[in-house]
Amino acid sequence: MKRWAQPAAAALFAAALLLLWQVLAERQFISPVFFPSPSRTLAELYREVAQGQIWAPLEATAYRMFCGWALASLAGVLLGAAIGFSRAARDYLEPLLDFMRPLPASAMVPVAILFFGFSNAMTIAVIAFGAVWPVLLGSLHGFVSIEPQLADVAAVLKLPRAQAFAKIAVPNALPDVLAGARVGLAISLILAVVTEMQASQTGLGQNILLAQRSFRSPELYAGVVTLGIMGFAINHAIVLLERRLLRWRGAPA
């Protein structure tokens, strides 16, 4: 009974918001030119799906997002592990990373264009730069904060460094790494859209920008809704992955 009650309540809440949107739009609370009703927005989305217009930009955006995120996650885990596990790496890299972390990724677009041109490689580099931080910090925290008792166990058992890493450090870091990767995925989607807008790469981001410039607000909102659905789907995918990978922890208390 309770298992479906909660999602049903959430769906009902979303439906209520949708209804409010429809009423506000119909009352012309804001000019319908800039604020289309959900029915007009969904009709436009339906038209794009029916005519097959949506798939190419959706695929382009998803591809960039995924590649950028994968690169960011890989680099984040490797760097995080290196810094967390080695005193020397921490001394050399930490100040540099602290310096780079606050740089806005979208400000890197012009630099990336000069290096990679107007290409997918450029977009992926920018996404990876922006999305690496949550994974990096998560994995750093995960590798540093090993339970003292577990460290003692490793010492008592005289585990070699490599085995201690694989059997104790990695499982300990995994929850933090996955939490970081989840945040990183959302950032990747945002940056995929931003770079498409800034560097004229075809995709959902560019479609939204062009729709805005041509005063096609239903098309603009249809793009935003598509991004929302994408965000919802990828977040759920990674939650499922998390549950699977962390099954050994048992249900949280």
């Binding site: 264009i113 000069l114 107007f118 004229s200 410039r213 005063f215 607000s217």
Partner: protein
């Protein structure tokens, strides 16, 4: 004698509130040489003379001007033909009330420049190339698409990327783009230092007398303020004449408002013809930028 003084006083008193009641208009423009007559009309008091209380407001980019007119921040604002057509299709009640500038074949202030060494001689050589545009879906870009379309080069055979005018030189030099849509003075800079070469005066080939920039307002504002529209047009026409007879002083006023004096200037013109908008409408439909026909007779204010 007294009578004359009293008569003069009465006239002055009657005139004072009349002058204060001049219709107000906040006019939006962007930083370009096309708007020199606007600066002159303001600077030389021509708007006041013709009965318009005008304030000038500079917008950062052209796409922001239309929404600002709709929201009521601006009463009059700059735009282009394609801009107005997209607005009409999107349901924005905007009309063209006057012209601002034209691009004539004999005075090509915009063109297509190729990277030195790139094997581009004709439109068909642009297949597979990356071309920079100052803004996707802008008038200059749409005219390039039309030029390529006329030469049987399909839209999916070339890549368009957005690069603002000041960055085009470096992009061309670094080889990240093969060609670029550009305007003066950027074009002369690229071609004179050997970075690029002129491919074509494509705008002139597409239309030898093109309406480049126009002035728009909300339809209901134009309906309620016919005197303001007339005053704007009259002041603008006089400012254009003034620019023609005082080119050096016009340049100074231009520099005062823009921060730079443009080495070349477009052809100013206050007229908007129905045929101007018909041309853009036809091109918009040809290129698939418009989803259906747009009734242009409703877009040009009589």
């Amino acid at each position: 004698m007294n009578r004359i003084v009293i008569a003069a006083l009465v006239t002055a008193l009657a005139a004072a509130p009349a002058a204060a009641q001049n219709p107000k208009a906040n006019i939006g423009y962007i930083g370009a040489a096309d708007f020199t007559p606007l600066f002159v009309a303001k600077d030389k008091g021509l708007f006041d003379k013709h009965g318009l209380d005008a304030t000038l407001t500079r917008a950062q980019i052209a796409p922001n001007v239309g929404p600002a007119i709709i929201s009521g921040d601006l009463q009059i604002g700059m735009g282009t033909g394609p801009n107005l057509l997209h607005a009409a299709e999107g349901g924005l009640p905007l009309v063209a009330i006057a012209g601002a500038s034209r691009m004539k074949k004999e005075n090509p202030i915009a063109g297509l420049v190729g990277r030195t060494g790139a094997p581009i001689k004709a439109a068909t050589d642009l297949r597979g190339k990356t071309i920079a545009s100052p803004g996707l879906n802008t008038m200059l870009t749409e005219m390039l698409e039309k030029w390529l379309y006329d030469h049987k080069v399909a839209r999916n055979e070339y890549t368009l990327v957005e690069v603002v005018f000041p960055q085009q030189h470096d992009m061309l030099k670094s080889g990240r783009i093969d060609a670029t849509i550009t305007i003066e003075p950027f074009r002369t800079k690229m071609t004179s230092d050997g970075t690029g070469f002129n491919i074509a005066n494509y705008v002139g080939e597409v239309n030898p007398d093109l309406l480049a920039v126009l002035w728009m307002s909300r339809r209901d504002w134009a309906e309620k303020n016919p005197a303001a529209v007339r005053a704007f047009r009259a002041a603008y026409a006089e400012a254009i004449e003034w620019c023609r007879s005082n080119p050096d002083e016009a340049k100074k006023i231009q520099a005062k408002y823009l921060g730079f004096a443009s080495p070349v200037n477009p052809d100013y013109g206050v007229e908007v013809k129905l045929s101007d908008m018909e041309f853009f409408e036809k091109v918009g439909r040809e290129l698939g930028k418009l989803r259906g026909p747009v009734d242009v007779t409703k877009l040009v204010w009589k």
